[in-house]
């Protein structure tokens, strides 16, 4: 039981971290000048000092344009390299996250509703999520080869934990009176799941999804750096070996932008799905 307790504490801790108001702030809009100043500073310092490892921002952006956004109009100005690097990477993240959400919510609901099952699997769960995802790459290569399946499975395996643990906490925190009332009115288990348990645990599940999304992106890059032939991670390693710093920085910035957009999408989803909550969450 102690394991479950500490898992709960950590889940809540990560939640609080995610919801501490830093993720998608108004400050980003009102203080956009800070970004402009930073960008200009980067440009000027890089130009004047002529640093090999830190090419000027405009050079980086130009390289990014040539690499990914200089294709024919028929394909929306996207190049073949964009399809190979970016599209395949994002597809892996989305698929991996989808698997993680489905498995995490299903298993989490089951474990949350059946305390004895929870006690039984808890130590194993605690251990499985403590294994650093990168250390799993060799094992997943043994199990699933070096194709996309391996990467998607690894993304799913890593990002399932925050969703799973938050679902367990959410399901367990459903007001017992609701269950009792539902039982009194002979409301079936399926209806109870859909109309009571799921809505009540939705805020926690979605908070878990936000943590998972950040993890998924990390594992995506990581898995693509080993034995891959496509993806942003592969491109990053390739450019490193050819020492093309501007292309490398373009990859890093693209990853940052992707992470920002993915997070924004999850936050929007969260706002939309949780509109019915009485007290608006920040």
């Amino acid at each position: 039981m102690t394991g479950t307790g500490s898992a709960r504490v950590e889940t809540l801790a990560s939640m609080r971290l995610a919801s501490s108001g830093w993720h998608f702030s108004r400050a980003f809009v009102t203080h956009v000048w800070v970004l402009i100043v930073a960008a200009i500073a980067w440009e000027l310092i890089a130009r004047s000092a002529n640093l090999f490892y830190f090419p000027p921002l405009t050079t980086v952006l130009e390289h990014a344009r040539q690499m990914w956004f200089s294709g024919p109009a028929s394909s929306g100005w996207l190049t073949q390299a964009f399809m190979a690097d970016v599209a395949s990477s994002l597809l892996r993240v989305v698929l991996g996250l989808l698997v993680a959400v489905v498995l995490g919510v299903l298993a989490g609901t089951a474990i949350g509703l059946l305390p004895r099952l929870g006690d039984l699997v808890d130590p194993t769960l605690q251990f499985a999520r403590s294994v650093p995802p990168v250390a799993l790459v060799p094992i997943f290569m043994l199990l699933f080869g070096i194709g996309s399946e391996m990467r998607i499975t690894l993304i799913a395996f890593t990002s399932v934990w925050p969703i799973l643990l938050n679902t367990i906490t959410g399901v367990r925190s459903v007001e017992p009176l609701y269950h009792a009332t539902a039982r009194l009115f002979r409301i079936g288990i399926r209806k109870r799941l859909v109309y009571i348990v799921l809505p009540a645990s939705a805020p926690l599940i979605l908070a878990g999804l936000r943590v998972s999304t950040a993890l998924a992106l990390i594992v995506m890059v990581l898995s693509e750096m080993v034995a891959a032939t496509s993806g942003i991670g592969y491109r990053l390693m390739f450019e490193q070996q050819s020492c093309t710093l501007a292309n490398m920085w373009a990859c890093i910035e693209l990853l940052g932008t992707s992470g920002y957009l993915l997070n924004a999408i999850v936050v929007l989803l969260e706002k939309r799905l949780l509109r019915w909550l009485p007290t608006p969450r920040e």
Binding site: Y53, P138, C243
Partner: protein, 250 residues
């Protein structure tokens, strides 16, 4: 513990049943035996020690960096708002994406591991310190000032008790991140020693699936051990905040 035994027994059954190729998925009992053997293997231990060293030193440096930066950013509204915008932009960059760049700029070795750990593991502490400072109880502070309680006593009796739990949470979140970064750097060629290097060698060099599984399991045990130790330490060292998480969950 019954659950662990059950899962292991189930794994043993599956691996013995012939459903999976033992060359890729070794028997659970074999992996357990290898794990015990590895605990007496000098080369394995020195690699592991290298990783643990990077993990601990990196984490310690991140705590210092997080606290110092947290104070600077948290104590001034203007700085806080400006940095928030900048951090919103920098934070989504996955830290592992900086490993190739780091390898070019810093080169292989311990310094690279430490640099990346500090970059990745400082965030949780930084956020938590800043939000702790921003959410300090104004009335408490003003009451203290009214009663002419000195700066020193205010720091000791108001500031520390209300920020330390947040820092502790930050450390708990940061610890696994630091371990992941250490092993990532090792696996992606950023170091010649370490647990990651050892596991990779067992896989691609020796082709020994049993050793890969055993090494990975030990990495998992290290991570779990770290989580557990920090949880215990927090409960022991910060007893005045008995419900420090459950009351702030809305």
């Amino acid at each position: 513990m019954a659950g662990v035994v059950l899962v292991l027994a189930l794994g043993e059954l599956v691996t013995r049943s012939g459903a999976v190729d033992p060359q890729y998925v070794p028997h659970v009992s074999t992996v357990l035996r290898r794990m015990v053997e590895l605990c007496g293997d000098a080369s394995f231990l020195s690699h592991t020690l290298d990783t643990v060293q990077a993990w601990l030193i990196g984490l310690a440096l991140s705590v210092v960096a997080g606290v110092v930066l947290g104070f600077v950013v948290g104590s001034n509204r203007f700085v806080y708002k400006s940095f928030q915008a900048l951090f919103d932009f920098v934070r989504p960059i996955p830290s592992v994406a900086l490993i190739p760049l780091g390898m070019l700029v810093i080169g292989q070795g311990m310094q690279l591991k430490l640099a990346l750990i500090v970059y990745a593991a400082t965030w949780p502490m930084l956020y938590n310190i800043v939000s702790a400072i921003r959410s300090l109880d104004r009335i408490q502070q003003e009451t203290a000032r009214v009663f002419h309680i000195g700066r020193h006593a205010r720091f000791l009796h108001i500031f520390l008790p209300s920020t330390l739990p947040h820092l502790a949470t930050g450390i708990r979140v940061a610890s696994p991140i630091a371990l992941v970064l250490a092993i990532s750097v090792e696996m992606l060629g950023g170091s010649r020693t370490g647990l990651g290097v050892w596991i990779l060698d067992a896989n691609t060099g020796a082709g020994r699936a049993d050793l890969v599984f055993a090494g990975t399991a030990i990495a998992g045990i290290l991570g779990a051990l770290g989580n557990w130790l920090l949880a215990v330490a927090e409960r022991r060292l910060l007893p005045w905040h008995p419900s420090h998480r459950s009351d702030s969950t809305r």
